[in-house]
């Protein structure tokens, strides 16, 4: 007892006091021995009889629980282990820790040590777990449309390959960008066995021009590594770097390090965003300027023009091309800010336009940003080939000049323009091999489908960034008879399968001990640098004339569904888009003014047409803050992988299907994606928008989108709800900030303080400045807490089950001049956006607790508001009385029939049945686990031991959680922040969740970027 922890012991590890005479049962035993009286006989028989009866009453289903014959080393049933690996959700390659319980991965978390992601993991990464357990995944190779086995496939395919080799067939590999050196080696070896083998790597989105532009301006065709943490002034032209652009987790982590409102001494970056649609990044910008898609190059042109005047360097390609959407003086002011901070300035561009990209490079060159805020010496490796190579390959396929095609990680029939024609060519081709884990639009036309492992079953090395090698190791044995692509290739190249582990081991250097360490760490840093090239002014393309006329198409990727490869994932479909809050659909976003001009309402189906034939029919979504010329439609929808969702959600008489009339979720917008001059043009093409007369209701988790109440219902002084508080850097500079600003008008507490919380008192603080709304936390919470998917119709009925939601508010920057119809809170003008994660506030005076008739929601002595599922009778009074409306009711028995998918369930969290209430538990199971571990180690729970699922996934580290009683804890310090406030503190519920106010780096008068 000498090393007894200082905090209050909570029961475990304490010995029960010894009973005299050998325990509680002893007196009866003694009496029985001393001679049985009639009374004792009756007691004993009565006890035995009742005992027997009780046994009969217990409903124990017979289950066999067999112990391990031999306990595997290091495996303890019920304890989870973490394995370092690399996320395969997209090409960014974030480091992750896979939490394995009893031999199966149940949760994916960011690896806090990883130099790219710093512990964050996006929603797509979180949800990729479900891909492992997807029961629709192919479990065996498919040959000529029939399930087969690897031996037969290898024999049959071997024959075909021999024929190709002998006939000098033209072979092409069309795949996603390869980020693994080992895989690249295997692919190149394999292609080298053909006389005419070529490799084309293409991404489904618009990142390839970045590398091409650097090839033109710097002589190195690569995507640089961006260092947003080094940038004081960030100007982004249509680059959604916090949401979908290149490596959003890495960029969010870096960006957030310069956005800390309580550490202004570290610098607080200024962020200017030019964009046509509203992106996640745009919602966080200090200054957001709306431009037409056709003005993107012109913005950069003007920026470069002003910068070159500052730098006294002139570029002959640069002429004055003023925009109509943005006043040139404003761009000049932005250029001046950039120039002022030229050592710490960064310009990024997400446009597909090569000219815009080269101008962006020119701007960075003028600012001297290369080597500082962006780096070509240690570039990223996920750019793929060029658009030109892609279009050339497609042209050759169309011309019938390709004999064999290998397709990996892409679904070209769906994702690339003219997919239907491509499908026909595939049928005519000698050999088509797909490595897709699904029978999708492309693999349906393949002669062989050789399904690759899920990345959680795979071995791999990944150098997504030069100088950083991340490793992928299998967390679980393959679920089906799939084979990793590298093994298939080794078979087809050498005639024997080289186990992929051996390949990766060899690729890492071959030292097993070192390899073990690498696998344990998940990554290693290597000092590798490449030639950074030199700036070639001739490589800069001249911008075309700015065009802000008419309606212009913007094809983009959503945060939740970055590509069609994720179309199988119900967690991602049901993840509300951070900006639109829409689920289970894609749509044409229009600005309020444009929608009004075209007499369109939310949910009106429109035909977005590119010329005569190419068109997509999607519902309208009215998006405040969008440029009036833009028509934004998300790619990645309308995949056959979504056909399975026909029956998703509870069935009842008024149920409406989640899928459209074609049986698919959303519509494929690649119908209006086309090559223009050998390059896919994602944005800027003129389109027509016509109402079809049909309607398709959008399902959105938020019905009202503004902090401003409808003007005609606003009481004087109550026009804006105070639940999001905002400030500026300038205001924070005032040392007296916060002394008078935020008053908690608690009105005094009429109850005695009889719950002192002597031990722990858990609390959470969320920094609204850092929260980007990316929604990784929402999915993380869903995975951690076994939150069911309910389908589009139920979301439309406002019955989504997410325990954690992110409230997103638009506020007119100037209500007086916003114009338009403000009855929904916003008009036609510029809007400010705020994101507010909202979950159970674990109120100390919880309104839900007093009203429950059966005590199904009660308070713990550590401040947790606990929901007792099996006590709940479902009166929903608690839900009504919750001022935050965070309680979730099980309206139906939600489906848990898919035995494979059920393996992704967290065994520490109960599955809830219908008719009961549930809500955020502050990850009670994580608190418990941390307490047990601390107890085993005979120490008190330390700050940081407990990380909520939402907090863990947050790339911006916006969430702090801990013991409010510990003055040194992160949460206690956050609560002491001058910016700290509590939502609805005025009604006296004393929430345990607080927020720190949203800081924007802008002058308080809302005018321009210049200040200070």
């Amino acid at each position: 007892m000498s090393n007894k922890p200082a905090s209050k012991p909570d029961g475990w590890g304490q010995r029960l006091p010894e009973l005299p005479d050998g325990g509680a049962g002893a007196p009866l035993q003694k009496d029985l021995l001393n001679g049985v009286s009639r009374r004792h006989f009756m007691q004993a028989t009565g006890f035995a009889f009742i005992g027997t009866m009780m046994l009969g009453c217990t409903a124990v289903s017979e289950e066999e629980a067999l112990p391990y014959l031999e306990q595997p080393e290091g495996v303890i049933a019920g304890r989870s282990d973490l394995y370092a690996t690399t996320c395969g959700g997209c090409s960014a390659g974030c480091g992750m820790l896979a939490r394995s319980r009893d031999g199966r991965p149940v949760k994916l978390e960011g690896n806090p040590d990883h130099p790219l992601s710093h512990g964050g993991l996006c929603a797509v990464g979180q949800a990729s777990l479900l891909g492992l357990y997807d029961s629709h995944r192919l479990r065996a190779p498919v040959m000529d449309g029939k399930a087969s086995d690897w031996a037969s496939v290898d024999v049959a395919l071997g024959d075909r390959l021999r024929q190709l080799r002998s006939a000098s067939g033209r072979v092409a590999w069309l795949g996603a960008p390869i980020t693994s050196p080992n895989k690249r080696a295997r692919v190149e070896e394999f292609l080298a066995t053909f006389d005419n083998g070529r490799l084309v790597e293409a991404s489904a989105n618009s990142q390839m021009p970045i590398a091409e532009a650097h090839g033109l301006t710097h002589g190195v065709a690569t995507v640089p590594r961006y260092h947003f943490d080094r940038a004081q002034v960030i100007v982004s032209v249509d680059a959604d770097f916090l949401g979908t652009w290149i490596s959003p987790v890495e960029f969010t982590a870096a960006w957030s390090s310069r956005r800390r409102g309580d550490a202004l001494e570290n610098g607080f970056s200024e962020h200017v965003q030019f964009e046509s649609r509203m992106s996640v990044t745009g919602t966080k910008a200090d200054l957001r300027l709306r431009i037409a898609p056709g003005e993107r190059a012109a913005v950069l042109n003007q920026l470069v023009r002003h910068l070159s005047q500052h730098a006294h360097r002139s570029l002959r390609q640069i002429q004055d091309r003023p925009l109509t959407s943005v006043d040139d003086a404003q761009i000049a002011a932005i250029a001046a800010r950039l120039w002022e901070h030229r050592d710490q300035a960064l310009v990024v561009c997400g446009a597909d336009d090569l000219a815009a990209q080269t101008l962006c490079n020119a701007a960075n060159e003028l600012l001297g940003a290369y080597g500082k805020c962006l780096d070509l010496a240690q570039p990223a490796h996920h750019a793929g080939s060029s658009e030109t190579e892609l279009s050339l390959l497609l042209d050759e396929i169309a011309a019938g000049r390709i004999d064999a095609l290998f397709v990996d990680g892409l679904n070209p029939v769906l994702d690339l323009p003219a997919g239907a024609a491509l499908a026909q060519r595939l049928d005519a081709m000698q050999l088509v091999v797909s490595f897709s884990p699904y029978e999708d639009e492309t693999s349906a036309h393949a002669d062989f489908i050789c399904p690759d492992h899920h990345y959680l079953e795979s071995w791999s090395d990944n150098d997504n960034i030069t100088g950083l090698m991340s490793y992928t190791q299998p967390i679980v044995a393959p679920m089906g008879a799939t084979r990793q692509l590298e093994e298939s290739l080794s078979m087809w190249t050498t005639g024997a399968v080289v186990p992929v582990r051996d390949q990766v081991l060899a690729s890492s250097g071959g030292d097993v001990r070192r390899f073990d360490k690498l696998l344990h760490d998940g990554f290693e840093m290597r000092d590798v640098r490449q030639n950074a090239g030199n700036f070639r002014p001739d490589g800069v393309h001249a911008a075309s004339d700015p065009d802000a006329s008419g309606l212009q198409l913007v094809l983009y990727s959503k945060v939740a569904i970055p590509s069609s490869a994720h179309a199988f994932n119900p967690w991602l479909h049901e993840l509300p888009d951070p900006v639109t809050k829409s689920v289970w659909d894609n749509y044409a976003s229009l600005s309020p003014a444009t929608a009004e001009r075209l007499s369109l309402q939310d949910g009106d189906v429109v035909r977005v047409a590119l010329g005569q034939d190419a068109a997509v029919e999607v519902p309208v979504l009215i998006q405040p803050g969008q440029h009036d010329s833009a028509v934004a439609v998300a790619l990645g929808y309308g995949s056959v992988l979504s056909r399975r969702f026909e029956g998703v959600g509870p069935g009842w008489i008024e149920r409406k299907p989640t899928v459209g009339s074609d049986g698919l979720v959303g519509a494929s917008a690649t119908a209006v994606l086309a090559f223009e001059g050998g390059r896919r043009k994602f944005a800027g093409r003129s389109v027509t928008v016509e109402a079809t007369g049909a309607r398709r209701e959008l399902a959105r988790t938020q019905d009202y989108h503004s902090l401003d109440v409808p003007p005609h219902l606003a009481p004087e002084g109550g026009e804006r709800r105070p639940n999001v508080q905002e400030t500026t850097v300038a205001a924070l500079m005032d040392p007296h900030f916060g002394e008078h600003a935020i008053e908690h008008h608690d009105g005094g507490n009429m109850w005695p303080v009889d719950h002192p919380y002597e031990g722990h008192h858990w609390g959470m603080v969320i920094d609204l400045t850092l929260c980007t709304g990316c929604s990784a936390c929402v999915t993380s919470c869903q995975v951690e807490n076994n939150v069911p998917v309910v389908g589009k119709d139920e979301v439309r009925r406002n019955r989504e089950m997410h325990w954690l939601r992110i409230d997103r508010y638009f506020v007119d920057r100037d209500p007086a001049t916003a114009g338009g119809d403000r009855s929904n809170g916003t008009g036609n003008g510029d809007v400010d956006v705020s994101h507010q994660p909202m979950m159970c506030h674990h109120c100390d005076n919880a309104p839900c607790e007093t009203v429950c008739p059966v005590l199904a929601t009660v308070h713990s002595d550590e401040g947790l508001n606990q929901q007792v599922y099996n006590r709940c009778v479902g009166t929903r009074y608690c839900m009504n009385n919750c001022p935050y409306k965070v309680r979730r009711f099980n309206w139906f028995e939600y489906a848990h029939e898919d035995e494979h998918e059920n393996l992704a369930m967290n065994p520490d969290v109960t599955i809830r049945s219908r008719g009961i209430m549930e809500k955020c538990s502050f990850c009670a199971q994580r608190i418990q686990e941390a307490k047990i571990v601390a107890r085993q180690q005979r120490r008190p729970v330390a700050d940081g031991d407990i990380r909520m699922a939402c907090q863990q996934s947050c790339a911006a580290q916006a969430i702090s959680f801990g013991d409010m009683n510990d003055p040194e804890s992160a949460v206690a310090r956050a609560r002491d922040s001058r910016r700290h406030f509590q939502v609805l503190a005025e009604i006296g519920v004393q929430p345990s969740v607080g927020y720190t106010s949203l800081v924007r780096n802008r002058p308080t008068d809302h005018e321009g970027p210049q200040h200070g």
């Binding site: 509870p650 009842w652 008489i653 008024e654 938020q702 019905d703 009202y704 989108h705 503004s706 902090l707 109440v709 409808p710 219902l713 606003a714 009481p715 109550g718 639940n723 139920e794 009925r797 406002n798 019955r799 989504e800 409230d807 997103r808 508010y809 809170g825 507010q836 909202m838 309104p847 007093t850 009203v851 429950c852 008739p853 059966v854 005590l855 006590r871 709940c872 009778v873 479902g874 009166t875 929903r876 009074y877 839900m879 009504n880 009385n881 001022p883 935050y884 409306k885 979730r888 009711f889 099980n890 309206w891 139906f892 219908r914 008719g915 009961i916 209430m917 939502v983 009604i987 519920v989």
Partner: protein, 456 residues
């Protein structure tokens, strides 16, 4: 005193009835086969009841999701119907107990039906708290019974528990009161029947009534005591129902005016429903002599009074919101009057504030048809009052992000219709098997032996 005066001026029962005629008139309804009208009404009501039963069965099989509720609006039709029916039930107790204690003898013609209505309405009301639960099969957990679950007990802080007790008490007292009041009439029926099963049942139910002075004395005493017991319930039940809302933190619910406001509203709606039913019964069962303009006058005046109280309460709510300076509260009331549910709000105001004011006019009060139509409006208005309170307060509360719309599902509408089906079915059975007018009491107001009646 005034009523005493009125009593002497105008007969309560018209048509110069003798006690024998009263017995014959009332019992005629119980003898013989039911009329075609009765059958038609019964089949219609029973069909509605069947529809409701199917809807409830489907809902219990499938889940609360078959209603139009959502994460923001956790109660709507269910609790609206509950409060509506509880309110309907109020008139019965008021008429039978309070007016009895105040010696309002005009009540004798309507008290039996009103009490029956109370019981049926409370039965209808009782369904909703039961079925609105996510797991109604555990409804008994609301009851503080001795259990083997260790420290698990009910939460005495929850208004739903208070509700449970209030309604259980109310139902028990109302049922007892109704039954005790019926004993003399049951004995009358017993005496008229030929030997057989029906007579045996009636003999059992009549508790050995022999009409002696001693029996009457005991009866009057018990009746008086029960009336005394039931009187506070008139206030308590709806007060406690209103606490379901008043103790919450939701703007529009969290208000201290609710108990008197709800009680007034309940009496108002109850009177309207009594009148609706009695006017139908009067016409179809030829009770014109028993339900007279005098009854109409007294009850419409009571409605005028309680209806005006309700109107005052509506106004006071707005004043409180404006005067409080609470922006959430102010918004809630502006949203009620001008928001998405403005149509419901103005339906409520038109029906409940304007309608009763017409009762200032004697010509309106004494016109059976107009009164009938107006009571229908009041019934509608009072249903909407509860709907407005529940739904408009919930659908837009504190955080704009959680604001949501609400529209009922077909199942919800079927359940509401089903509750009317249950109510009407029970009422139709009641008029067939039980004397619809308290013969024993009516005979007491005929004026025989008073010398001041009209019988001379």
């Amino acid at each position: 005193m005034a009523s005493e005066h009125v009593l002497q001026q105008r007969p309560l029962i018209e048509g110069n009835k003798t006690p024998g005629q009263v017995t014959a008139d009332i019992c005629r309804l119980l003898d013989g086969k039911p009329s075609g009208t009765w059958w038609a009404a019964f089949l219609a009501s029973a069909s509605l009841l069947g529809l409701g039963a199917v809807a409830i069965g489907y809902q219990i099989m499938t889940g609360i999701g078959v209603w139009g509720l959502n994460n923001t609006v956790g109660w709507a039709f269910d609790i609206t119907n509950f409060v509506f029916w509880i309110g309907i039930g109020h008139a019965g107790t008021l008429i039978s107990a309070v007016l009895f204690l105040f010696r309002q003898r005009w009540r004798t013609s309507v008290n039996r039906a009103a009490e029956a209505m109370t019981i049926f309405a409370v039965m209808c009301a009782g369904i909703f708290p039961l079925i609105h639960m996510g797991r109604p099969w555990f409804a008994y957990w609301m009851f503080p019974y001795i259990n083997a679950r260790g420290p698990l007990w009910i939460n005495f802080r929850s208004p739903l528990v208070w509700d449970f007790f209030a309604i259980a008490t109310y139902f028990t007292i109302s049922l007892t009161f109704w039954y005790i009041g019926m004993v003399p009439d049951l004995a009358t029926i017993r005496d008229r029947l030929k030997p057989g099963l029906r007579k045996n049942i009636m003999s059992f139910l009549a508790l050995g009534w022999n009409g002696s002075y001693r029996t009457w004395l005991r009866y009057e005493t018990v009746y008086m005591l029960l009336a005394g017991l039931a009187t506070p319930l008139v206030i308590s039940v709806h007060t406690i129902v209103s606490w379901d809302f008043a103790t919450s933190v939701i703007p529009g619910w969290h208000t201290t005016i609710f108990p008197p406001y709800f009680v007034a509203g309940a009496v108002f709606s109850g009177m309207a429903m009594v009148l609706t039913l009695m006017l139908i019964a009067r016409k179809t069962m030829h009770l014109e002599d028993y339900i007279t303009k005098q009854h109409l006058g007294a009850m419409t005046k009571l409605m005028l009074f309680t209806g005006s109280l309700v109107g005052l309460a509506y106004g006071t709510e707005f004043f409180t919101a404006a005067y409080s300076g609470n922006k959430y509260e102010q918004f809630t009331f502006l949203n009620r009057a001008m928001g998405p549910f403005a149509w419901a709000y103005w339906t409520m105001v038109s029906c409940n504030v304007i309608t009763p004011q017409l009762f200032w006019f004697k010509r309106v009060r004494e016109n059976f048809l107009i009164v009938f139509i107006l009571t229908i409006f009041v019934n509608i208005g009072m249903w909407f009052e509860r709907f407005v309170i529940i739904v408009t307060s919930l659908h837009r509360d504190y955080l704009p992000a959680s604001w949501a719309d609400y529209s009922p599902s077909l199942v919800e509408i079927a359940t509401l219709l089903g509750s009317f089906g249950l109510f009407l079915t029970l009422f139709l059975l009641f008029v067939r098997f039980v004397p619809v007018i308290a013969m024993g009491e009516v005979k007491g107001v005929l004026g025989i032996g008073r010398g001041s009646g009209h019988g001379s």
